[in-house]
């Protein structure tokens, strides 16, 4: 990873108060940004409550993430973090889809392709480098 940060001074948004607890647990709130390890994705509005769609009946979850900058170089990493966190937190019946929000990133299609590729994801989750990052 670059020693210089791409987005040195991100805007930090206040956490939304009084979120309505839905039946589906929303566990993304403490995934840390790989670049700013003291901030969570929710603080940076990479993910908001609205960007997570859950269909309990069909056992389907789709998370849409919005990188802080169009040329951010870690969306695939963020996606992987979310993916791994959800796999740990959700029952096995769920199918998880992680996507980058349309128009929010320069290499959107490439990242989406990377995140959609099951084998690459499985390989990444096995790789010691990523495992250390997730835990």
């Amino acid at each position: 990873m670059n020693s210089r940060l791409v987005n040195e001074n991100p805007i930090v948004y206040p956490k939304k108060q009084g979120r309505v607890r839905t039946d589906q647990s929303n566990t993304d709130e403490d995934i840390k940004d790989p670049e700013h390890s003291e901030l969570t994705l929710e603080d940076l509005r990479v993910i908001t409550k609205e960007s997570v769609e859950v269909d309990d009946a069909k056992s389907y979850v789709r998370v849409t993430l919005t990188p802080t900058l169009p040329h951010c170089h870690v969306p695939h990493l963020i996606g992987l973090c979310i993916y791994s966190k959800l796999l740990k937190s959700l029952p096995t019946r769920f199918k998880v889809d992680v996507r980058v929000a349309p128009g929010s990133h320069a290499t959107e299609a490439a990242v989406n392709k990377q995140l959609g590729d099951k084998e690459r994801i499985a390989a990444a989750l096995e790789s010691p480098y990523f495992v250390d990052l997730f835990n």
Binding site: D23, S25, K88, L90, P91, L125, P128, V131
Partner: protein
């Protein structure tokens, strides 16, 4: 000689800088002790030390001098020869000039100067010499921190102890101080330095003195610290809090009037800063200055001071005025620190000089407020700026008025008429009529802003009354001018406030709030010279009381009025105003009590009860009145119910009793004489029940019986032994005159008991429950008449299924002193004599004749199932009573209960499942703490460690029975019983026995998880297990049994009947990770599977725990996650 040898050794040790500090301290201590004991004199010491004090080696000499100084510090309270002191101080003074040994010299001087009240003081001449030498030869700021502090302390000490000598020195001291302070940065030094400046200011008050001439320089050196700001919050500076240091600085700045030309402009400038700390500090410092500089000097700055102060008040006030219940007795808005400091300053200035008030009175902004007020009717409609205007001006005026009687008069003269005019409130002429001006068609205009201002003024002015009463020497006219103004308007004011309250509707609380607050302010004037006459005061009370009586729902208005009445009641009590108390009694208390008495009022009775109990608890006489009223109300409603069958009255009765239990009893310690009235109340309850012989109507009045027994029990519980005796006697008389005593004649035989199926009448049931509650509440010292027949009565009634009777019997055997043997005989043995005489079937013949009838019934030899279960429950309560006092007979009872649980008991046949269940639950009764009876509140006799004792008796028996049990039902029931015992014993006992208990607990968990009936028991057992998992004592056995524990917990993660069980099981799994890695790693897959399933749990809390647990268990493997 030996002492001298040692001395050299110690001297060497101290002088040697290479040794450790503890070594140094030890040798110091040793020399000091020999000096103190008189083995060594100070002269000898000096002679011995000669070499160290005069050597040319700087280090050794410095250490030597320091040693001598330290010695003198030790000898602070030992008389010394004057000549010795003189020569020593001369020596140290001379050494001050030598920078290498300055520390020793400073400490030596300080130690000698500090000497107070013992023989051997430093003379003034010597002190002068010290000061001179110090001023001339020490550069304070070039020294180390500790030495600087010594310097400042020396200065402080000199100024404090030798003021005359220092006055002689004059300029020199001031110069020395200036030079010393210049550039100082350490809080501990500054603290002393500020005090030095303060002392200097006090020492040279003359306008031609050195401080006056050097004021500008001296002020410059201290002013640079203002406002204080710590850059390093952590570290040793923290030893002196910022507040203390800032207080010291403020005292230094205000110490002398000569600082005035420099200080006030600086403070005003800092006041305008945006830093809150600076504002607070300046305001506080200005207040100190106002006190010390004197009026004439402050007067010059009034013109600048007033706007600055006003701005501070405006900036620190928030506009949200609360109209809530809690702010009825407070200003109603938040007071920040700045605000408080500003208010204090304003009050000080006005108090000190009435001419400052001129600025306030003439201020254009203050005068504008009347326009603002008349522009808006309602507070919510106001703009924020207008709200601020009104709040700040009311604050300014009320604070100014509070300062002195004189200022109050001026404020009232200037503003009150205008305010009344704006509000359209008219004045009363001497004849008592209201004066109507030409536009009298315009009625009172209730501007919220105006009302607020008016209330603030009235509230503050009331505090001035006692002071005016104390000093009667002041002329009446000056005293009373504001009073007379208020009294001229009082009638109309009360009317205006009343109309404000009455015009309010539910959705707007502001009207009601302001009205009630105004009435409260009018009603709180103290003493005979109050501007509010008695008839007006009574009018206020009438208005508030009518609000309480008229509202049928609990509105804000109602609550406000109630709180105001309570405030006024406690105010009357506090200042013991006998006249007002009479009015209060006549209007408020009598009215409310009569409302309680009359059963036909519009107000729901819980509300009227609440109001009455709140109001009346302000004064003991009211309480008496109220309990009397309650008594009457109870009697009339009760008899109304008995005669006419009015169900509403019985409901009233229960509410009344609830009120007594919940509102009055908890305040017993606060209110004198309440106990007596309550005992009277209890006795009249009995009287009432006695006199109503026939209940013409049956009622399903569980609620009433419960309320009555609860109240009765609690009253007996709190009453003194004598009162208890009288209640018991009364109750016994009622019992013996009722049909209940007929039950005594029922012989305790199987045949007779079998015929007992008919129920008691409602009245008898009520009397029985009430009597049981009396017995439950009685203390061991109270005397219970006719124990034998009472025991008999309770015995028969609990066999019929009246549990209170069983509890009363338990309480009796727990508390009885001498009568215990007799009672137990009646319960256990006498019955057996009659029991054996009846013809019985074959199976019972195998039982020995000494066996009690009760246990036979329990074991099901005779009678129906109902009788059996009743007997088991009753036996449990009796057992509890015996267990708590540590009586051996409880063992027999435990054996009977265990017998009931066996799959095949001694008679060869199994018990009915329901009876077994009751027997298992009996262990819960025995072990758990009861709310209803046999607790500390009800004076139970409690032996320490009784639970532990029972635990050690029963657990081995139950364990062995579990091993041998044949039928699954009996096995389950034995486990239930064991779970009850285990989960109620203190956790330390479990931890001591983890090894033995763990396997049986685990088995119990799996047995109990089969049936949903046992879910609560299962949960408490699981909690016991979770307690053992983490403790160090249990860890070894937990580790040995890890496989079984995990297997059991995994099963419980899917327990369908109770959410907390699943949650706790998952938490337990997470805690198991603390075990050695090798022990738990093999179960990883198993646990993860279970927890993954729990991720889909219907309850959120379980899912969350599951996520945490899963995360923890996955992380024990080195890497790959098992997806």
């Amino acid at each position: 000689m030996a002492a001298l040898n040692n001395l050299t050794e110690h001297l060497e040790a101290f002088v040697d800088v290479t040794r450790s500090p503890t070594h140094h301290a030890e040798s110091l201590k040793a020399i000091a002790t020999s000096l103190e004991k008189g083995v060594l004199s100070i002269n000898q010491l000096v002679v011995e030390m000669d070499m160290y004090l005069t050597t040319t080696d700087d280090v050794v000499r410095a250490r030597g001098i320091l040693l001598l100084a330290e010695m003198l510090d030790y000898l602070k309270s030992k008389p010394l020869d004057n000549a010795v002191v003189h020569s020593l101080i001369g020596f140290f003074t001379a050494k001050l000039a030598e920078w290498r040994s300055v520390r020793g010299a400073l400490s030596g001087c300080l130690a000698l100067i500090k000497r107070k009240g013992v023989a051997g003081l430093v003379t003034a001449v010597d002190a002068e010499a010290v000061a001179k030498s110090m001023a001339q030869s020490i550069q304070v700021q070039s020294l180390a921190l500790y030495d600087r502090k010594l310097c400042f302390e020396l200065l402080e000490c000199l100024l404090e102890q030798y003021p005359e000598a220092m006055i002689n020195l004059g300029d020199l001291m001031v110069y020395a101080t200036c030079e010393a302070i210049d550039g100082e940065k350490d809080p501990p030094c500054l603290m002393v330095a500020f005090h030095v400046v303060e002392l200097l200011g006090r020492l040279f008050p003359s306008p031609s003195g050195p401080v006056a001439s050097e004021a500008s320089d001296l002020f410059e050196f201290i002013s640079c610290y203002f406002p204080l700001h710590y850059t390093h919050t952590k570290g040793d500076e923290a030893s002196i809090p910022r507040e203390d240091l800032s207080r010291g600085l403020s005292l230094a700045i205000s110490s002398t009037p000569f600082f005035e030309p420099y200080a006030i402009p600086l403070l005003l400038e800092k006041l305008s800063s945006s830093l809150p700390v600076a504002k607070v500090d300046s305001l506080k410092c200005l207040k100190d200055c106002a006190v010390n500089y004197g009026v004439s000097r402050m007067k010059k700055h009034y013109k600048d001071l007033w706007p600055a102060l006003k701005d501070a008040l405006y900036a620190s006030t928030k506009t949200d005025l609360s109209f809530g219940l809690e702010s009825l007795t407070s200003p109603g808005f938040e007071m920040g620190e700045i605000h408080r400091a500003a208010v204090n300053l304003l009050q000080r200035l006005v108090k000190q000089d009435i001419s400052f008030l001129g600025l306030v009175v003439e201020d254009i902004r203050v005068n504008m407020v009347f326009d603002t007020i008349s522009r808006y009717l309602r507070y919510e409609e106001m703009l924020d700026t207008s709200k601020l205007e009104v709040l700040v001006v009311s604050q300014i005026l009320s604070v100014s008025a509070r300062s002195s009687v004189e200022s109050c008069n001026i404020i009232f003269q200037t503003f009150f008429f205008r305010l009344m005019n704006t509000l359209g409130i008219v004045e009363k002429t001497s004849t008592g009529d209201l004066v109507h001006n030409e536009n009298s068609t315009v009625s009172t205009r209730l501007y919220h802003g105006g009302l607020h201002l008016c209330i603030e003024l009235l509230t503050t002015s009331k505090d001035l009354i006692p002071s005016s009463e104390e000093c009667t020497s002041t002329p009446e006219s000056a005293q009373q001018s504001w009073c007379s103004i208020v009294s001229r308007f009082s009638a109309s004011l009360i009317e205006a406030f009343t109309s404000a309250v009455q015009s309010s509707n539910d959705d707007c609380s502001a009207d009601a709030y302001l009205g009630v607050k105004g009435l409260l302010a009018m009603g709180m004037f103290r003493g005979g010279s109050s501007p509010v006459s008695r008839s007006e005061f009574e009018k206020i009370l009438t208005t508030l009381t009518s609000i309480i009586a008229a509202n049928s729902a609990k509105t804000v208005k109602w609550e406000l009025a109630l709180k105001a009445l309570v405030c006024m009641g406690s105010f009357i009590d506090r200042y013991s105003e006998s006249e007002k108390a009479m009015s209060y009694m006549a209007i408020v208390v009598e009215n409310l009590v009569s409302l309680v008495r009359s059963s036909h009022c519009s107000l729901p009775s819980p509300m009227i009860l609440e109001a009455t109990s709140e109001v009346c608890s302000t004064r003991p006489t009211y309480v008496e009145k109220m309990v009397e009223g309650f008594e009457e109300a109870f009697c009339s409603s009760f008899s109304d119910f008995c005669v006419n069958g009015n169900f509403k009255s019985i409901e009233n009765c229960s509410q009344l009793l609830e009120c007594v239990t919940n509102k009055l009893l908890p305040r017993l310690t606060e209110i004198d004489g309440l106990e007596k009235s309550l005992v009277h109340f209890a006795i009249s309850m009995w009287n009432q029940i006695e006199s109503s012989v026939v209940f013409s109507y049956d009622f399903n009045g569980r609620e009433f019986v419960e309320a009555a027994t609860k109240t009765m029990g609690e009253i007996v519980g709190v009453a003194s032994v004598d009162s208890q005796n009288s209640i018991i006697q009364k109750a016994y008389n009622v019992i013996s005159s009722s049909t209940l005593l007929a039950m005594e004649s029922i012989p305790l035989t199987f045949a007779a008991l079998e015929g007992l199926q008919r129920d008691l009448s409602t009245r008898d049931e009520l009397i029985l429950s009430l009597f049981a509650s009396v017995i439950i509440g009685a203390s061991p010292k109270a005397s219970i008449p006719d124990v034998k027949s009472l025991v008999h009565l309770f015995l028969v009634s609990f066999l019929k299924g009246y549990i209170p009777a069983a509890q009363a019997l338990g309480s009796m055997v727990n508390k009885l002193g001498t009568g215990l043997e007799e009672a137990c005989d009646t319960i256990f043995h006498e019955s057996s004599a009659s029991g054996s005489s009846i013809p019985s079937d074959d199976s019972s013949k195998t039982i020995g004749g000494s066996e009690a009838l009760l246990s036979k019934i329990c074991l099901g030899f005779y009678g129906s199932l109902d009788l059996q279960t009743h007997a088991i429950t009753g036996l449990a309560w009796i057992g509890k009573g015996l267990l708590m006092r540590g009586d051996k007979r409880v063992n027999e009872i435990a054996l009977v209960l265990v017998e009931c649980l066996k799959s095949t008991n001694s008679s060869g046949n199994a018990l009915h499942p329901s009876a077994m269940k009751h027997a298992a639950d009996a262990f819960l009764t025995l072990m758990s703490d009861s709310e209803v009876c046999l607790n500390r509140k009800f004076h139970a006799v409690i032996r320490p460690l009784y639970k532990q004792r029972f635990f050690s008796i029963t657990v081995p028996i139950l364990e062995s029975l579990i091993v041998n049990s044949q039928t699954p039902l009996s096995r389950t029931m034995l486990h239930v019983a064991l779970a009850h015992v285990v989960s109620n014993v203190p956790v330390t006992v479990i931890l001591d026995n983890t090894k033995k208990l763990l396997s049986v607990i685990l088995e119990g968990l799996s047995v109990l998880s089969v049936d949903s009936v046992h879910k609560e028991t299962l949960f408490s057992l699981l909690l016991v297990l979770s307690g053992t998992l983490t403790d160090i004592k249990g860890q070894q056995s937990v580790s040995d049994n890890a496989h079984r524990i995990i297997e059991c917990l995994v099963k419980l993660t899917s327990y369908p009947h109770l959410m907390v069980v699943r949650e706790t099981a998952i938490q337990c799994l997470a805690t198991l990770l603390e075990l050695p890695h090798g022990r738990i790693y093999p179960f990883r897959r198993e646990v993860l599977q279970a927890v993954t399933k729990a991720l889909d749990d219907p309850k959120r809390r379980v899912r969350e725990e599951a996520i945490k647990c899963r995360q923890a268990w996955t992380s024990i493997s080195s890497r790959s996650t098992p997806f």
